[in-house]
């Protein structure tokens, strides 16, 4: 059994911080080296599994197209994330205030949570037009909606009884209660939902590109490159999409941290 003691010395703390950064990098480098080794020494066909070096090469060669594709997909994901989050928060607020809405939305939300994006893509393209990015944004929005809704609803239910009593004691108006207690309590939950939604938004926006609409995004270019067996280029676009996903994740993580700062023990 590993007994981790709660207290740590300053030097130990510093070592921990360093290790926390070094360990994942080390794992990453190990994988990359192993990968390169597989390709260049063992000789796994470079054709199917391009070497990291080849990917980097392609990444540099097609850098302008990487950037523009990332921007297109990123914009779709961002818009979807924002719209989905706003809808999620609003609907959660309504559901929190009125139970029947909560019950009524349950099957719809559950369905949205399990529906494969590919199933909706063609239908949404028909409904909203294949010539605009809206279909993808809608898909990213739907994907974001679910976690934001669920977490926000939970957040609205977290108000402590003692806080509720306190507000009643102060004869606070409902607007005051929402402003001083309900919203601040829910905020960390909302941001947790948004963080979870961020990765989903990117992936969904990207996958939706496989199913029609204007070209130029990451998903379309991954498929085009792969279809002409330009696997190194396809991987380079995959790398770009990972970077995009990471940016979304880190940005929303930072937001979440910001929203919960100064209340570790709330």
């Amino acid at each position: 059994m590993v007994l981790t003691l709660p207290g740590k010395s300053r030097s130990a703390a510093r070592t921990e911080t360093t290790l926390r950064i070094i360990a994942p990098i080390a794992v990453g480098i190990l994988v990359l080296v192993g990968w390169q080794f597989l390709v260049s020494v063992i000789g796994v066909s470079d054709y199917l599994l391009p070497s990291p070096a080849a990917i980097v090469e392609e990444f540099i060669e097609f850098f302008p197209s990487m950037v523009s594709a990332t921007l297109i997909t990123g914009w779709n994901a961002l818009l979807g994330l924002i719209i989905g989050s706003i809808l999620g928060i609003l609907l959660a607020a309504i559901a929190a205030g009125w139970r029947p809405i909560d019950h009524m939305s349950a099957p719809v939300v559950a369905s949205l949570a399990v529906i494969p994006i590919v199933a909706l893509a063609p239908v949404l393209n028909s409904m909203f037009g294949a010539d605009s990015q809206f279909g993808r944004q809608a898909i990213a929005g739907l994907a974001s909606f679910v976690p934001v809704f669920i977490n926000t609803l939970r957040g609205f239910r977290q108000t402590l009884p003692v806080h509720r009593d306190l507000m009643k004691v102060y004869a606070a108006s409902s607007a005051q209660i929402v402003r001083t207690v309900t919203l601040p309590t829910a905020v960390p939950f909302v941001f947790t939902g948004i963080r979870i939604a961020s990765s989903l938004a990117v992936i969904s926006a990207l996958v939706a590109e496989y199913f029609g609409g204007p070209r130029g995004g990451l998903g379309g270019l991954i498929s085009t490159s792969a279809a002409s067996s330009a696997y190194a280029r396809a991987w380079a676009y995959v790398v770009a999409s990972i970077v995009l996903g990471l940016v979304f994740f880190l940005a929303t993580l930072a937001l979440e941290r910001l929203a919960t700062r100064g209340r570790r023990r709330s």
Partner: protein, 306 residues
């Protein structure tokens, strides 16, 4: 402090049926409301939707874009095609859904094994947690669809003795890729959930990591694990459908999804059959984890919001 402790248990047992009924009632009402809104909008909305600036913010209302809800439902009971031997659509969808469900179950199991294994490693060694966890999180930003052909191709090389890699296995692998993530995270949180008081108790009993794992950490992880397993099941279904589309595997719901989408110009309602099918499928998969929850109910006496 005392009576309240007992209350939740009693509450659950006593009025469960009545409350369930009300819940279901509202649920059905919710679906009806959606259908009504759909039809109402279809009736009132402009054929080309509502366009603000460049963006069409509300959909088109043509039969092509928004078939009537009753058409979607009745289409389910019509034969798939004019062919003499054609099954009704719902049967075709159901058969495909079963295939998909089977593969999803395999993918889910693999995801459980991998996810739980990773969680164990991460729990055992802090260094492993620091090294692996960021990559586990990062893995979810990787568009899995990009890997479908590669997985299939790698798989097709696996041939050990009488064992030969099948296409559905590639699909299951991709499903497990989606399923393992929530399970790894949930299991890790669960394995780390015991209070210091409990781990120290085990320490005073002088038992090692394995016994602590068996008697304390694994049972304590159940409340965290169950929602993770449920999420994993839903993800596995999504993964199978995506991978079926992407690898062109036959027999599953992903396949008929694109097939019927291809016929949506002339038969718009048909495309909704597999969509409904995949929703039911996802709900069934997630729901079957609830059975597991019922079996393990004694391990969930402390319910957790995960």
């Amino acid at each position: 402090m005392t009576a309240e402790n007992l209350a939740p248990a009693i509450r659950r047992r006593r009025s469960a049926p009545a409350r369930e009924l009300v819940r279901w009632g509202y649920g059905v009402l919710g679906i009806l409301v959606i259908a009504a809104v759909w039809e109402l909008y279809k009736f009132l909305g402009p054929a080309d939707g509502v366009v603000i600036g460049e963006a069409r913010v509300l959909p088109r209302t043509t039969d092509l874009a928004m078939p009537h809800t009753w058409d979607m439902v009745t289409r389910l009971f019509d034969p798939v095609s004019r062919s003499a031997t054609a099954n009704p659509l719902w049967l075709e969808v159901a058969l495909a859904a079963l295939v998909t469900l089977g593969i999803a179950a395999v993918g889910w199991l693999v995801g459980v094994v991998v996810g739980f294994g990773l969680a164990l490693i991460m729990q055992r060694w802090k260094l492993a947690e620091w090294g692996i966890l960021p990559w586990v999180i990062l893995s979810q930003t990787v568009p899995l669809i990009a890997f479908a052909p590669i997985v299939r191709s790698w798989g097709s090389r696996v041939e050990i003795g009488a064992f030969e890699w099948q296409d559905w296995m590639s699909v299951a692998v991709i499903a497990s890729y989606l399923a393992f993530f929530p399970i790894a995270i949930g299991a890790l949180r669960g394995l780390q959930s015991p209070d210091a008081i409990h781990t120290e108790l085990m320490h005073t009993y002088g038992v090692g990591w394995w016994k602590t794992l068996l008697k304390l950490r694994i049972p304590a992880s159940v409340p965290y694990l169950l929602p993770a397993l449920r999420l994993g099941a839903a993800n596995a279904v999504v993964g199978v459908v995506v991978a079926e589309v992407s690898t062109g595997m036959q027999g599953g719901i992903g396949r008929i999804l694109i097939q019927y989408a291809g016929q949506a110009s002339g038969d718009p309602a048909k495309a909704w059959g597999p969509i409904f099918g995949s929703i039911v499928l996802g709900l069934a998969a997630a729901g079957s984890v609830a059975i597991l929850g019922a079996i393990l109910k004694n391990y969930r006496r402390v319910e957790i919001n995960a």
